[in-house]
Symmetry: C2
Subunit: 155 residues, 2 copies
């Protein structure tokens, strides 16, 4: 199995934890030297904190684990293309590479709506690979929102 898939499956596991809490199913992990050093999932609704996206929480865990805000040797795997805030957090943390699953045409800031890497003069530009396991990661989101709609109609 390809490494990207191996790690995306771990991010999907995190996304499913979010789903169990009735949160939008988005999960992330951070890998350093082949080892998973942080895992997190979206908890925005549960905690009612706007910054509690999977990527932000995962980055904070990785910083605490390594004792530094510089995550230069780290790769972040996330099930959905990062939003402006999370793309910015990845840039601020000097993360080496981002691998994401589903594309987000509306909020995606690594190419789908806008590409933060095209802004000149920033102090870091991560490598980016999108669309890894995109069917599985998109399906997770689509089915979540479908169930939400059905529940609304039936209630």
């Amino acid at each position: 199995m390809e490494l990207n898939e191996k790690y995306m499956k771990e991010a999907i596991k995190e996304a499913k934890k979010a789903e169990c809490k009735d949160e939008v199913p988005i999960g992330a992990i951070i890998v350093r030297e082949g080892k998973i050093i942080a895992r997190a999932h979206n908890t925005r609704q549960t905690k009612q904190i706007s910054t509690h996206h999977a990527e932000i929480l995962c980055i904070e865990k990785a910083c605490k684990k390594l004792g530094t805000w510089r995550l230069e040797e780290c790769e972040l795997y996330v099930t959905l293309e990062p939003c402006p805030m999370c793309a910015g957090a990845i840039q601020q943390s000097r993360i080496k590479k981002v691998v994401f699953g589903a594309y987000d045409s509306k909020g995606g800031f690594f190419g789908s709506n806008f590409n933060i890497n095209e802004v000149k003069g920033l102090n870091h530009y991560p490598e980016v690979e999108g669309g890894v396991m995109k069917e599985e990661t998109s399906k997770l989101l689509k089915e979540f929102f479908k169930r939400k709609r059905e529940r609304r109609i039936s209630s």
Copy 2:
């Protein structure tokens, strides 16, 4: 005294708290219905967490205070133009208005380097007012970096 100045002075007080910790002096406050509901300053070096910018910490405090991730009625005052991450967090939090002090030609994401409000299709666009007390807020940063350089030379 103009309201913008009154609140920017409070953000500057926060920036000075950062300075006392040898952090880059950046401070923020959040105001709702004329009342300051959250205050925070940059603690990135002290905590070694990349996301610990003044704005992110201030937004998180405001969410906790109000019990909601939606800060629609809130205004954020910050001494420096927000970076990509913080501009994104402001957008994610649906903050009504951002007032900033010094412009940041390198990282500023509300017009100086790039303007996040020009990206189409996002779900929120805050009002923005920049350059409030820009001399004082710029001076704070310039003097901090000047002292840093002098200390490096003399050591």
